[in-house]
Symmetry: C2
Subunit: 428 residues, 2 copies
């Protein structure tokens, strides 16, 4: 069991840097760090900012308690001065960033952390862990939602990822437009609708399939989903309707050629008078599998592995870079990683119709912006105090609107360029 | 913050199945569930069992407290009978499985859970989450260790995955043979050696590179690693040796064409008299990048993204299936997922030289086994009580021995068949 505070979920070099900086007097230099992606994974056309809501809570409680400090001192990782500094740590700077549910592109400054070097650098691992994980899941999930064309998707991938990631993944998928999750902790923590009825084991436990279905209907009523593919799907559907009657809510199919099976199942259900009984399909669903089923009589999808692993891109490629020291822009100069220094401000420009056209990012200044433009950064923490920010529900709606606003090519599933260009204007 | 117990990190359908089974009297039927993989991801030649050490601790503490039960009842997910059952839950059955660090192949029964239907089914999500995550990381990490041919690898991927996954990933990478981790919580929880010195931000914070190096050496001594690629690598190395002297422990290069840079850096270090100063390389390291550097003068690797995301296979594809009810083998019959029912026992056969030749898995019986063979399952929990099992250090050594034992083709990085065949012998 993890008996250490989240503050220890950090990379050692942050603390050794703080040790050295406390010793040489640079620890208190005012710095600005920025989180951004150099590129989008695998030819994706947009990224989705996910995680700030979770992150701000974690930063608010980011403390090194006696157990953590004792470990660090005992292991010789920090000296006495640093141990004392850590024991008194509380972030007192500012954090600004893109709203949760906002789209981002290569170079978008999605989070800006300002304060002393030491108080900012110690948050690096936590900030990147939360944003890289949650944004990776949300980006893949958003593509699935687009592919599903309004049909609901259930997130059911908990078992395919770390037990704690599973809860955050359910949150990110809901942000991206999924209808519900199988993960109960996500329901309890974030108020996400939960769903789930039965597995093949439940059918196998019983003497036969009708007995299993009768038991489920007796316990959960007819407003339930019967899993009909344990033995033979056709017989399974007949058994389901025989037991529950034609007003059964739904049947689920978890294996086989889902296109053909959905058609046959619809015909069979209709022939049995179960014209309102829905068809739920699951099993290796990603955005491509969902798109393939667009024309089939499917009412709902269940997605697991692909959603919790970012559908081929399990991390969002976000980095945390020092861009300003005491008001002076700084930048790493080694080849192929040229970035622009200085604190950046971002605006997204739109046509009068509302379609986004470009993102302008200005270093140490504010871009010109007109009525159709939108400044993208907001305050999350001001002088160490968290600021109110939107609910998960509001962020979900914000993403929905953002996806409507990008040029239609941006919603294609194929690999391509970012949906809109980002122009970074260096310090004049 | 997660304020709910791990018992809530579960899929809703487990609890609805329990509700129905409590109602119809099947909840107490004696069952056997098995964890296995139908295939290895991406043409991998072996899987690595990782996670049991973490899992058994979590199962020992798997309880539904008042907060969890209140949520489930309040949300209408469980009825009163089930709520009462959950409140009294404590696993009282048996868990047997492959040792941590053991290899597995498609069909290997790596974990066997026996008890009543209800007490076993409720553990499904937790068991799969832990084993799927940890085994995915360990499998990719083991390939990197093979590719590194004895050179040490540092795990530094925390920032690329969920903050809690990061700690488990560091553990799995260490199990697989990594030398150390940057993750402090993994050091504190599991006794894994931690390492880490400085980032580019530390150099940028200072007025110039020599000032940053001098500060680091003043704080950490010459037995440290200076990051030399913030500006110009050649100048960085000259600055490093000028500041620290020729007995500096190591320099790190994090970008660029690492083959060429390692050669040039070695020549330069030697010309400066720093013949013992080591070269550490990092930046997008996976098993293929490591293999490419085999002939270069590299002393140590740092791996991040690839290791925490399973190097292309972020989940191990393990499933949890009901195989026996009241002593009777059961199996799902739908197409393409034919499995053999019944509790299985596994033996790995070896040549007299120690090379593994095959795995034999027998349903409801014990395979013949001779002196060179090894029964693969051991007890983890007996009648609800955890049994002593090997330390992480011992499991690490076990994996090292297992990798020596497989045919040499099994260690190739290219896609191929499993290193040894698994024959599953159905119930006679």
């Amino acid at each position: 069991m993890n008996t250490f505070a989240p503050a220890l979920m950090t990379d050692q070099y942050e603390l050794t840097m703080i040790s050295a900086a406390l010793k040489d007097g640079t620890a208190d230099r005012q710095c600005v760090f920025e989180v951004f992606a150099r590129r989008l994974p695998g030819g994706r056309r947009y990224g989705v900012v996910a995680g700030p809501g979770r992150l701000i809570e974690l930063i608010k409680n980011f403390r090194f308690g006696p157990a953590e400090v004792d470990f660090l001192r005992g292991a010789g990782i920090v000296d006495e001065t640093t141990a004392k500094w850590l024991a008194g740590y509380r972030f007192s700077g500012d954090i600004d960033g893109y709203a949760e549910g906002e789209l981002f592109f290569p170079g978008s400054p999605i989070l800006t952390v300002s304060g002393t070097f030491a108080e900012c650098v110690v948050l690096e691992t936590l900030i990147l862990s939360v944003l890289n994980h949650d944004s990776a899941v949300a980006a893949g999930a958003a593509r699935m939602v687009t592919a599903a064309r309004g049909r609901p998707i259930i997130e059911m991938g908990s078992r395919r990822t770390h037990e704690d990631s599973a809860v955050a993944a359910a949150r990110a998928a809901y942000l991206a437009g999924f209808a519900s999750t199988s993960n109960l902790a996500a329901g309890a923590l974030y108020g996400i609708p939960t769903t789930g009825t039965s597995a093949h084991a439940f059918t196998l436990l019983h003497d036969d399939e009708p007995a299993a279905f009768a038991s489920q209907v007796a316990a959960l009523g007819k407003n339930t989903t019967l899993l009909v593919d344990t033995y033979d799907i056709g017989q399974g559907i007949r058994n389901a309707i025989a037991v529950a009657g034609p007003d059964l809510r739904a049947v689920r199919i978890d294996s086989g050629d889902l296109s053909v099976l959905a058609q046959h199942s619809r015909e069979l259900l209709d022939s049995l008078g179960a014209v309102e009984t829905q068809i739920v399909v699951s099993g290796d669903m990603d955005e491509y599998a969902i798109a393939t089923l667009a024309a089939e009589p499917v009412d709902m999808y269940g997605a697991g592995t692909a959603v919790v692993t970012g559908s081929g891109a399990p991390t969002a490629g976000l980095v945390y870079k020092l861009v300003e020291v005491e008001g002076r822009p700084v930048v790493k100069r080694s080849e192929n990683k040229a970035t622009v220094g200085g604190r950046k401000t971002a605006v997204r420009r739109h046509k009068p119709t509302g379609t986004a056209t470009e993102e302008i990012v200005v270093s140490q200044g504010v871009p010109d912006h007109a009525a159709n433009d939108r400044l993208l950064q907001r305050s999350y923490i001001a002088a160490g105090e968290p600021v109110d920010f939107p609910t998960l529900q509001e962020s979900r709606e914000h993403l929905r609107q953002c996806l409507i606003s990008i040029p239609w090519e941006g919603l294609k599933l194929s690999a391509g360029d970012p949906a809109i260009p980002v122009t970074i204007v260096p310090t004049v």
